[in-house]
Amino acid sequence: MRTYIAKRFLQVIPLLFGISFLTFLLLQLAPGDFLNQMAENPAISPATIDAMRRRFGLDQPWYFQYWLYLQNVILHFDFGESFSRHQPVFTVMREGLSNTLILAGAAAVVTWGLAIPLGVWAAVRQYSWIDKGLSLVAFVWLSIPEILSGLLLLMLAARTGWFPVGGMRSIDYDDLNGFGKFADVSWHLALPALVVGLVPLASRMRQMRGNLLDVLRLDFVTTARAKGLDEGIVIYKHAVRNALNPMITLFGYTLGALVSGSFIAEIIFSWPGLGRLTLDAILTQDQYLVMGSVLMASVVLILGNLIADLLLAIADPRISYD
C-alpha cells in the first residue's frame, strides 16, 4: 500500500508540471496583460505603464518568465506575487480556499445526505409513484442552470427575509458568541449549499437506485430471502452495504470536483471563495494568482482521486494495490 501511495505521488509531479505549463501558455495566448486596463486611463502615461511592466517582469519573453516561475517554485517554494495586491499568491488564496471548502463540504452533505436515502427508497419502491416523482423532481432540478436556481433562491431570500441575501457572515458577526457565529454562517450557507448540492443529486440518486436494484437481483439476496430473513435486514444490512461500494469511489472522485463546482454559486451568493478570486484574477490577468489557483484546484482533484482509490481498497477487501 505504501509503495502504491508513493508511486502515485511521484506521478503527480510531471502532471503538475504539465498543468502549470499549459496554464502559463494559455495565459500568454490570451490577448493583453494585467496592465491593459490601466492603459485605458488617460491620466496614466505610457512611461508609468512601462515601469510597471518592468517591475512585474512582464517585459521579458514568456518562456523566460515561466523559467523564473519554475525556479522560484522549485527552489524556494515561492509561487509569486499577485500583481494587484502586492502580496504572495498563497496569502491571497488561503482564506478563499477555506471558504470554498466550507461551501463544498456543505454541498456534499446535501448531495449525499439526500442521494443515498432517496436512492434506496426509490429502489425499494421501484416504478411506484414515489420512484417516478423523485426522479422527476431530481431531473427538473438537474436541468435548471445553477445561475437561474441561484438567482431564484436569492429572490426568495429577499422577498421573505427567511435567509440572508448572499454573503457569508452578518455585518454584526463579530458581536456574536460562539454558537451565534456558527448559526450565522450556517444560515448564510443554506442557500448556496442547496444550489451547489442539488445539481449532482439526480445522477447520484439514480446511481444509488440502480446499484441497489442490481444487488437485489443477485443470488445471495435470493438466498437470504429464502432463509426467511426479515426484508428490512435483507435490504439494509446486506443489499445496501454491497450497493454502496461503487458510491464510495464516486464520492472520492467528486471530492476533486467540489472546489471547481461551486464557482458560479460563489459569485451569485457573494461567497468569498476561491472561485471569485480566480475569476477576478483571470479577468484582470493577474497571472501568478491564476497559476496558483489552477495548481491548487489540480492538487485537490488529484488528492480526491487518490482518496477515492484508497477508500475503495478499505471498503472492499477484494481490492488490493500491492
Binding site: 490601466m38 508609468t48 517591475r55 495586491r85 502586492h86 455585518i171 454584526d172
Partner: protein, 602 residues
C-alpha cells in the same frame, strides 16, 4: 424532500431571529482629544449626532490600503477616505477647497506656489502631520522604482517639480513652467506618515507596505477614517480617525458615523437585492433598467432614488486613421493601418460628418437607456459645472443632410444592393467593434448599423472581449471603428484628458502618438491644450477648451452618442447626504453624514 426543506427553513429561521437583529446603539462617541490648534470647519446642511454606520456595496474588495499604490476604484474608494491631500475637491461646488493646506498662494512669476499647512493636524496615531510628511510623500511619488501613477501628474515635459519646506508648516512648490493644475495635481499626492513608512521605503518594501493583510492598527492614516477590520472577499470596516482635524460649525469633531462599511457584493443583481432587504444603505451603480423599480418602491423601502442628471461618462465611436509606426512584413512605416481604400473614406471629414448626421440619437434614448439619457457632444458633459458649454459645433441627426453629403462624394448605389459604392466601385462599409460584456454599447452599435444602412453605409457589428478590444486599439490596430466610452477624472478638468486630445497622446484614439501633428487642425488643438494646461486664467482656459471641442466635432473625429442619466438610491435615515455625479458619488462627504434620530424621518 418537501418536509426536509420545510424543517430546514424553520431551523434556520430560528437562527435568523437569534442573529438578524440590528446592532444595539452603544453610548455615543465622546471626543477624548482636544481639538487641533487650527481645525477645519466643514460645510454641512445640519449639525449631526454621533453613532451609527453606513453600509456601501462594492463589486470587489480593496487590493491594497497603500494610497500611492492603489490604481483601481475598489481600492481608491477606501484610500481616498483614509489619506488626504493638500487641498480637497468639493463635489458640491466642483472647486478645490482647503484641506491639510489652510491657504495657498502663487507668486507673481506664476511658478512658485506656497501652501500653508494647518497647525495641529495629526495622523491617526496622534503623530503631528508636518511639511516633513508632505516632502516624504512627494519623494515617494517621484521615486523611479515605486513609480506610482500619480507621478504622471507631477512631471512637465520630463521635468520634476521642486518641492521644499522652509518651515514645518510651509510647503513651497516650484514648477518648471506655468501650470494651471498645480493645486489639484499636488493634492493627488496623498499624505503618508513618514515616521511609519520611511523605513520600508528605504529598504525597498514600500510597494507592499500597507497591504490588505497588514494588521489594521499598523495602518496610520491622515484622513477622516482608518481601518478597523478587513475580511477578505467580504467587507472592510473603516472607523473614525480620532485625531482628524475636520469639525462642524459647533466644534464637534468629524466624522459623525462610528463605522463606514464597504460590503463586497460582486454580482450587481445581488447588490440590488441586498439594498431591497435593507442590508445595504446605498449603491453606487444601478442598471438603468432597474431605475423604474427603485422609483416605485421608495416609500416602503424608506429611501430616495436621487436623480443626479447626466453622468460624467461618455459614449462615442471613431474610425481608425492610425498609421504604421514600426515596419513589419507587408507594411512599411507611414502606411495606414486599415485597408487604403477604407482609409481614404475614414480620413475624409465629409464622410465622418455624414455618419454623425445619420445617427438618430433620440431614437436610442427611450429604447436603450429607458428614457434616462441626454444627447452629448463633448467629454465635458452637462454634468460638468465648470467646463460644459451648450453651444459647441455638432452634427446631430439629419438624414437628408447626411444623404446630401454622401451624394457630394459621388458615392452611389450602382448594383442595387442598398449600399453605396465609392468612385472606384468598392461598397462603402466598416466593421464596428465594441466590448461584448457591455450591453448598452452593443445595443447602440446595433442602432448605428440600422441608421447607417439608411444612407447606404454597411456596418458589421463585431462585439469582442474587452481585453481583445484593448489590444486591437492599442497594439495591433486590427479594427476599423470602435465604440467605447471615457470616464472622467477628478477634478473633471479637460487638462486631465490631455492624452486624448493631443496629437502625441497615447489615448488620441483615432490616430495615436503622432510624431508631429498630421493635420493643421490637430496642430491647433495641440497649441490650445498648451494654453489649457499652462494658463491659470480660467476664462482663457475655457475659451481654449471650447475651441478644442469645436474642432474635434467639426472634423467628426469623434462621433458622440448619448450619455446616461445617473440615479442612485440612498436610505432616508441619513442626514447631510449630498450625492453627486462625481466620484465618490455617495460618500464624498461621508464624514459629515449622520444617522437621523428615529422618528425624525420625513
Amino acid at each position: 424532500m418537501k418536509s426536509f426543506l420545510k424543517s430546514a427553513i424553520c431551523m434556520f429561521a430560528l437562527a435568523a431571529v437569534a442573529c438578524g437583529g440590528r446592532k444595539s446603539e452603544g453610548p455615543a462617541f465622546q471626543d477624548p482629544h482636544p481639538l487641533p490648534e487650527e481645525p477645519m470647519v466643514m460645510r454641512a446642511a445640519s449639525i449631526g449626532r454621533y453613532g451609527g454606520r453606513f453600509v456601501l456595496a462594492e463589486t470587489s474588495g480593496p487590493k491594497t490600503f497603500n494610497a500611492m499604490m492603489a490604481n483601481e476604484t475598489s481600492s481608491t474608494d477606501l484610500t481616498d477616505q483614509m489619506f488626504i491631500g493638500l487641498a480637497n475637491f468639493d463635489n458640491g461646488t466642483q472647486e478645490e477647497t482647503p484641506f491639510l493646506a489652510k491657504t495657498w498662494e502663487v507668486a507673481p512669476d506664476g511658478l512658485t506656489w506656497t501652501f500653508h499647512l494647518r497647525k495641529g493636524a495629526a495622523f491617526s496615531d496622534g503623530h503631528p502631520i508636518t511639511a516633513e510628511d508632505v516632502l516624504f510623500s512627494f519623494t515617494v511619488a517621484y521615486d523611479e522604482v515605486v513609480h506610482p501613477s500619480v507621478q504622471d501628474l507631477l512631471i512637465m515635459n520630463g521635468k520634476k517639480w521642486e518641492v521644499t519646506a522652509p518651515d514645518p508648516y510651509t510647503v513651497v512648490i516650484k514648477t518648471p513652467g506655468p501650470n494651471a493644475m498645480v493645486v489639484s495635481s499636488a493634492s493627488s499626492v496623498r499624505i503618508m506618515p513618514k515616521h511609519v513608512l520611511e523605513a520600508p521605503f528605504k529598504s525597498g518594501n514600500f510597494v507592499s507596505a500597507y497591504n490588505v493583510s497588514s494588521p489594521p492598527d499598523t495602518i496610520v492614516t491622515s484622513g477622516a477614517w482608518r481601518v478597523k477590520q478587513y475580511v477578505p472577499g467580504e467587507k472592510t470596516v473603516l472607523t473614525r480617525n480620532p485625531y482628524f482635524f475636520g469639525i462642524d460649525t459647533e466644534k464637534h469633531r468629524l466624522p459623525y458615523l462610528d463605522e463606514l462599511v464597504y460590503l463586497v457584493v460582486p454580482d450587481q443583481d445581488a447588490a440590488d437585492l441586498k439594498f431591497r432587504s435593507g442590508e445595504v444603505d446605498g449603491i453606487d451603480n444601478v442598471k438603468p433598467e432597474n431605475y423604474r423599480w427603485y422609483e416605485d418602491h421608495q416609500k416602503e423601502g424608506n429611501y430616495t432614488l436621487h436623480n443626479l442628471g447626466p453622468s460624467l461618462n461618455t459614449n462615442f465611436f471613431w474610425f481608425n486613421q492610425n498609421r504604421v509606426q514600426k515596419a513589419s512584413p507587408g507594411k512599411k512605416v507611414g502606411d495606414p493601418q486599415v485597408d487604403p481604400v477604407k482609409y481614404a473614406w475614414f480620413n475624409n471629414p465629409v464622410f465622418r460628418r455624414a455618419v454623425s448626421l445619420a445617427v438618430d440619437r433620440e431614437a436610442m434614448i427611450p429604447s436603450i437607456f429607458f428614457g434616462d439619457a441626454v444627447k452629448n457632444w463633448s467629454q465635458s458633459t452637462p454634468a460638468n459645472k465648470v467646463w460644459y458649454s451648450a453651444d459647441v459645433v455638432k452634427f446631430d441627426f439629419n438624414l437628408a443632410e447626411a444623404k446630401k453629403l454622401i451624394a457630394s462624394l459621388h458615392w452611389v448605389d450602382k448594383d442595387g444592393d442598398g449600399f453605396v459604392e465609392d468612385t472606384s466601385g468598392h461598397t462603402v462599409g466598416f466593421n464596428l467593434k465594441t466590448n461584448s460584456d457591455n450591453k448598452m454599447r452593443v445595443s447602440m452599435a446595433n442602432f448605428i448599423r440600422d441608421d447607417l444602412a439608411k444612407i447606404g453605409v454597411k456596418v458589421n457589428l463585431v462585439p469582442v472581449d474587452f481585453n481583445t478590444l484593448i489590444v486591437n486599439l492599442r497594439e495591433d490596430f486590427q479594427y476599423e471603428a470602435i465604440l467605447l466610452g471615457l470616464q472622467s477624472g477628478v477634478p473633471p478638468d479637460p487638462a486631465m484628458g490631455q492624452n486624448v486630445w493631443r496629437s502625441s497622446g497615447k489615448t488620441h484614439y483615432w490616430n495615436m502618438a503622432q510624431l508631429s501633428p498630421e493635420t493643421p487642425q490637430e496642430a491647433r488643438i495641440d497649441a490650445l491644450m498648451d494654453t489649457l494646461v499652462s494658463t491659470p486664467d480660467l476664462e482663457k482656459r475655457k475659451a481654449a477648451w471650447k475651441e478644442v471641442q469645436n474642432i474635434v466635432n467639426d472634423q467628426g473625429w469623434i462621433v458622440w452618442l448619448p450619455t446616461l442619466n445617473t440615479k442612485l438610491p440612498l436610505r432616508n435615515r441619513f442626514g447631510n447626504t449630498e450625492p453627486s455625479v462625481i466620484p465618490h458619488r455617495l460618500i464624498w462627504n461621508i464624514e459629515r453624514v449622520y444617522v437621523k434620530p428615529s422618528g425624525a424621518q420625513p
